[in-house]
Amino acid sequence: MIDLSYQAVMGRKNEIMKKAVGLDYSVFEYGKLSFDYEGMMEKVAYSIPEMQKIQYETKVGNTSLFELKNINKLIKKYAQKGKGARIFIKDEAANASGSFKARRASISVYHAKKMGYKGVIAATSGNYGAAVASQAAQRGLKCIIVQEVFDSRKIGQPEILEKARKCEAFGAEVVQLTVGPELFYMFLRLLEETGYFNASLYTPFGIAGVETLGYEVANQMKDMEGRYPDVVIATHAGGGNLTGTARGLIKAGAEDTKVIGASVDLTGLHMASDRDFNRKSFTTGHTGFGVPFATWPDRSDVPRNAARVLRYMDRYVTVTQGDVFYVTEMLAQLEGIERGPAGNTSLAAAIALAKEMDEDKIIVVQETEYTGAGKHPMPQLTFAKQNGIEVRRGNSIENIPGKNVVIPENIGQITAKDFDMNRLRHSYIKNAVENKKLTEVTMEDVKFLAEDTKLAKEEVIEALKELKVAID
């Protein structure tokens, strides 16, 4: 009989994973900590034309890009003369399953089917679950979604409960757990029990699937305005949204477009805390994922995460929970589209940045997501109040995660706070050597770290010296 204890299953992690992804990551590894990222993306993932075909077959892609004319008018009121960039939004809610995550799931599920797997499993409390379920339904594969959803009182965020409902609507089994990183243990057990494919968010398939988004943004903008956008803003959590979009922009030729990551600021809340779990209004798109995944991407459920934001992110900003709820309401009332809220994190950041940018500049918010019961500002704020969070109007800067949600009085108060990119880059280097307990690296590793952080080689060498890591 197979040993199902926590230690035994975790001990079999590597062999379970290898079978479940059908991919040997070790062939890309070299040096003490490096791996051939571009080689992996090129050899393992699919090309843009192949992915466009796969996605077209399953109702994904070719979503509309439109200008937010009323919001843009309002931004001008709060911007200095000559400022107030134009914001365009990519309506990703139009994908099958209602979010950009369908792009990631479509490639993973296609690949799983091609490799002969009978089913797919994904660990996610977000839109990705519904995306995998929807794609599995279309390709005739079984599907299991593993969610972290309840606190120890069996009380769950309405947003996650809605996502569970949607997965079931597409015929997926949903396994629901209380708070804790040991979800990964159940995930491994299910992979082992079923022999299904690990449709992780972070395989080369999951990341490459988003490239078509960036590719479409570049080409649509070129068609509409005769040029590429100046800035594309992506909500940042695990890093796949930003990485895939940036890669797609580059593949389309929009190399000068700046890519900015935006997260909801949840500083101070512990993501694995039973108590803190229901004291936040955002279950994704926040700093609780954004910072750790930027500074240590390989913490994910595959050996090497194909989402590596430090390679692509030009700037990282945070907004508040109150800001995002405010712009979600505004999007419905002024633009006539009900979307979000979590996906509107990048819209809140775009409004803040548009006020500072020249009026001839173009910002693209590269996603929207579906909304519905549970996953909507009203139930989410009702839930916040029920969990002892104060909800009130006031200035955005008064937001304290876990204590209150302060809805701004007007868009003049919405500001984007810059996160120190240099700090992220240096934390990454520290994590890279400390997680492997290295006291020595090679020059090849220095080159890899420079590529993976966008630091100069000299800066990497300096950082390693400070960490007392020798270079061979």
């Binding site: 120890s152 805390s273 009203m378």
Partner: protein
């Protein structure tokens, strides 16, 4: 409903890890409680009552067992209460845009 018959849609509960079995990196408040799991499916047993250990067939076709906790579990999430702070936003921004 306290009883279920074969083929009915039900929810089962399992204790996955006891507090003392939880991962070392888990914060104290989480370490004080067990890791619990809920799964839904069609009842395989002929008949059962709440609290019985039962076997179910899930939507993916997996056979699994646990303690029966809900018969015909419904999705209870909704649109919440009207939130005054947010209702005002709509009225305000529409007024702002009218005057531009």
């Amino acid at each position: 409903m306290n009883t279920a018959r074969k083929g009915q849609w039900v929810e089962i509960e399992n204790l996955v890890l006891k507090p003392e079995e939880r991962a070392p990196q888990v914060p104290e408040d989480t370490k004080a409680v067990p890791l619990m799991m809920w799964t839904k499916g069609f009842l395989e047993d002929e008949a059962a009552e709440i609290g019985d250990v039962v076997t179910i067939k899930t939507l993916s076709g997996r056979i699994t067992s646990g303690k029966l906790v809900v018969v015909n579990p419904r999705h209870e999430h909704n649109f919440g209460h009207p939130v005054e702070e947010l209702l005002d936003v709509g009225v305000e921004v529409r007024k702002e845009i009218e005057n531009l």
